[in-house]
């Protein structure tokens, strides 16, 4: 038999006939004329090289071969119905997978959004990659992920961005610091202190350094630690001062104080970055949609800055019809 020209439609028609036990009846159920169904059947039987139905007491009954074809057809059609459901779930963003790459500092906050999302969409597999800004940039260049979180986005030539959270950088000092009570402090007064800095390649450090440059200031003694946590604990235990994202501080932080330095906090925003040239998975889109709607419930109001609806709109323009392949940059 030549399977090539077998269509699913043909199987549907065949199944309908077996169920109806009559060609005419099947035809009317399928909204076709009787000769159409007769012919389809004939062609099917010829394709398979076996008669499929016999008339028995006025009712059409499958032959041995026909019965097996009926079984096969039902399985096959059922399998494709399942596939259809799967597709629907994919499209609805209820299922699938996406990966998201986070700049280190954002890991303190993103779970607030990811957690509720995963609860709502347990069938979606999310992969989270975390590293410093430089590492994330590499991933971005290589297009390894669906979504990226940066505070300062890289070139937006191939990407779209949407802010979703304020990320203020503040100066912190240990609780007993001499200037802790002051209403206003000039940065100049602090240059002789020892400063704890993140490693080069970190976004926090980059922001702090370019701020210093703007102010025309240069730090005195510094000490480098590759982790926000380590720095926070270091400051608390008197090793020095630091500029950190407010999100790094626990809600209660009795052993630390925020210094009211003039020009601080450095205002920045975390944003979701999406490559324009990579098709976004439905699941990732679903996640952004979830954020657009539910961000308010997930993060503290004072940090809120939800540009996600706008991002989604722009995405819709970019992501259009399906083609055989997703394009490759």
């Amino acid at each position: 038999m030549n399977i090539r020209h077998l269509t699913f439609r043909l199987l549907q028609v065949y199944v309908a006939v077996v169920r109806a036990g009559s060609i005419s009846e099947a035809a009317s159920r399928l909204h076709l004329t009787q000769p159409t169904v007769s012919q389809q059947l004939k062609r099917l039987a010829e394709t398979l090289g076996e008669p499929l139905l016999e008339s028995r007491q006025g009712r059409l009954v499958p032959t041995e071969a026909g019965a097996e074809l009926y079984r096969a057809s039902r399985e096959v059609l059922g399998r494709f119905d399942d596939f259809d459901d799967y597709l629907a779930a994919l499209r609805g963003g209820e299922r699938g997978r996406f990966s998201i790459a986070l700049v280190n500092t954002a890991q303190y906050v993103l779970p607030r959004l990811l957690g509720p999302y995963s609860q709502a969409f347990p069938e979606v597999e999310v992969t989270v990659h975390i590293g410093n800004r430089r590492q994330m940039l590499t991933r971005f260049e290589r297009q390894e992920d669906d979504l990226y979180v940066f505070s300062h986005p890289p070139s937006l030539a191939h990407a779209l961005a949407g802010r979703f959270l304020r990320n203020p950088l503040v100066a912190v000092a240990p609780r007993g610091h001499p200037l802790a009570g002051r209403e206003r402090i000039a940065m100049g007064e602090l240059l002789e202190e020892r400063w704890l800095l993140r490693e080069p390649g970190s976004a926090t450090r980059m922001l702090f350094e370019s701020w210093l440059q703007e102010q025309g200031l240069t730090l005195g003694p510094t000490l480098q630690m590759a982790s926000n946590e380590a720095i926070r604990v270091g400051v608390a235990s008197g090793m020095g001062l630091a500029v950190l994202s407010e999100h790094v501080l626990p809600p209660q932080h009795p052993e630390l104080v925020i210094l009211p330095v003039e020009g601080l906090p450095i205002e920045s925003h975390w944003q979701f970055i999406v490559r324009r040239d990579r098709r976004l998975s439905h699941a990732a889109l679903g996640f952004l949609g979830f954020g657009a709607q539910r961000l308010e419930e997930c993060v503290e109001t004072r940090f809120l800055s939800n540009e996600l609806p706008g991002l989604l709109l722009r995405l819709e323009e970019v992501q259009a019809a399906p083609s055989g392949l997703g394009s490759d940059p």
Copy 2:
């Protein structure tokens, strides 16, 4: 998605592409040109409304939807390969089912053929119906079975016949019968004996009675029993005489003797009868073929009379191409 125009061919092509990881490679494996495959893919993706493949480092890799389609396709194609095997087995007569209707007396002999056949083709389901000639005729009229075994076939207008076994009817008497030693006996001498007869509608009785009529004889006292076995035992225990198929007698029958009556044995043959208007199942054909080849090994040589090869030839002429339906008389 519209499943209607989905062909198995399309799925085969898709599977080939996923396996090859490249359109060009798949095309060459399929002996198609690359644009052909490109287009098929495009159409497939459009039918399903989702992109199926992405280019990743020069290799085509399925998307989420594509991966699921690949799974579904393989299952579905596999299912139809199985179906194909099933068909092949059906065609080869290795599998399937048929039913055969036997005149009572034939049940002593047909198992000799059916037994070895079933051993050789254990996947074929055989149904055997047994009854007297009249009952079998009814089944024949109603076309309830694939094969029939008669000694005298009904009208052959709608049927083909092929002899396969001699069925001589002999007169039997109890061992001590006064005429048992004689070399030749005239039927006339036995008319006053009591005769045990099968019921009306039995073939054995019919043959005996028409033979008597030819001879211009009439029986004296008779006694009717609806079973060959009962009659054989009845004769052995002195209830009377009988005319029975030689096949009814066990190989050794010390308590019975065959009387050398003039004009006996009545010669008849069992034959397979096949309706011309009913498609014969491959399995039934296989059974006849088995008989044509192996009958010699299954029955005693003195009963042999194998016309089955001829019957098969005539059948081949009648049974032709497959049509959507088997025809209905």
